[in-house]
Amino acid sequence: MDFTLKIWRQENRKAKGRFETYKISNISPDCSFLEMLDILNESLVNKLSHPVCFDNDCREGICGMCGMYINGHPHGPDKGVTTCQLYMRKFTDGETITIEPWRARPFPIIRDLIVDRTALDKIIQEGGYVSATTGGVPDGNAILISKHKADEAMDSASCIGCGACVAACKNASAMLFVSAKVSQLALLPQGKPEAAIRVQNMVAKMDDLGFGNCTNTYACEAECPKQIKRSNIARMNREFICAKVASEESTKR
């Protein structure tokens, strides 16, 4: 397969970026998108020019490192997959593919297609965990959890924090990410003791970092490679309202 690639190139955070056009040919339909970029980069290196920089790590769709905005879709046109799991057979021969980095105020560009997603880590640092004290390993059946709740928590926990929700949202809102993280803990008894303060702190951090507000357009849900559901956002809203109304704990500034 042959493709024309229009790729965003930007030297560093402050430099002015531009689109560069590359022709690439003889690509196997079974080639993954990142492998296709590897082939492009090899040819660029052979020509002694700088390869296209992009994030990637596990290449099996579980780490959340890869991520680029391909032809108007975060992670490309395929459903429920990350960029590394996107295959070139999803494109038509001779197609022009435009590749852009995630665009959001809290995601500054590091180079080319690599953006700094530390903002998501900062939100997690505000309470996306369960404070554990040391001691003996608790018995597996000491706390009973219904299968339904456990499954729901597992679904929420499958968020890999890639930032596609932010990239897809017309407001660059991180609500799906934050809500998945809030939900996975709020659904389980272990997360309950800190639930009220957690949701307030994480939302406050999300707002401070400059993410947009959610307008319930659900582009995040449509593009999430892990198919995190919008009901997580509703749950976070519910948790937030309950925390604000009922809890005496509140975010300290």
Partner: protein, 288 residues
Amino acid sequence: MKLIQFASITKKIALASFGLFLLLFLPVHLGINLCLLREDGGEWYRNASHFMGTNYIVKVFEIVLIACVLLHIVVAILLTIENFMARPVRYKVKTKTKTPFMSRYMIWTGGIVACFLVLHFINFYFVKLDIVEGKYSANIEKVDKVFQEKAMKLQSGELNEKDQAALMAQYQAISQITPEKMDNSKKNMVNLTKEEVETYCGKDFKYAEPDFYTMSQELFAKNSYSFIYILVFLVLGFHLYHAINSLAQTFGLSHKKYSPVIEWVSVIYAVVVPIGFAIIPLWIMFVK
């Protein structure tokens, strides 16, 4: 960048709450408007608008309603600006993500409805607030009664010269209330302009009120107005469809059993209410 210093979810809830009040008010307004369909010369409609214009509880709600309209608009605009600023560099390729059509254009459908609301306020609400001149009607019996009371004062010599002159002028004017000014459809009512109300009854006269019936009939007689009216309610339908769904999501009401019900309520409300409003000009155009 934050234009309103509250948590994003708080802002969402505020916007939804203001909208919820407007959602609840719409059927009330629709109920009054549907009185126009009765062939009673506007009796029900006038009674309803009289109630809405004079009842003290309604007056309190009126202030809340106007506040909700303004806050809903202002918060929506500020949030849209905030949201736009959250992505300083836009994508070159426009998003191809499939999202519910209505949800993407809430600010635009809302903007169209808000523009119509300005027109609607000029046509009706500002007349009530005495900012814009409209049509008025007065109860001739009550005009008479006020006049008689003043005449009594004249006889007992309580009035000074200036008031006497005013009363004489009023007497002259009342005698000019011609039969064609009488509203046959409603007993004892006369249709008047603001100037006439003042000359006949004095500025402090309480029994003249804006004649919304005549005013609405005149507006719907214009096909261009009716066309705009129907179009705006079509747009409002789009706005409302996303509104109820979105409201439930914002308040955290998401449940496997009830969410489909909310979805249906959303659709039914978004279809029934705008159709209810749009029926009125259609009725006047094609049936009457």
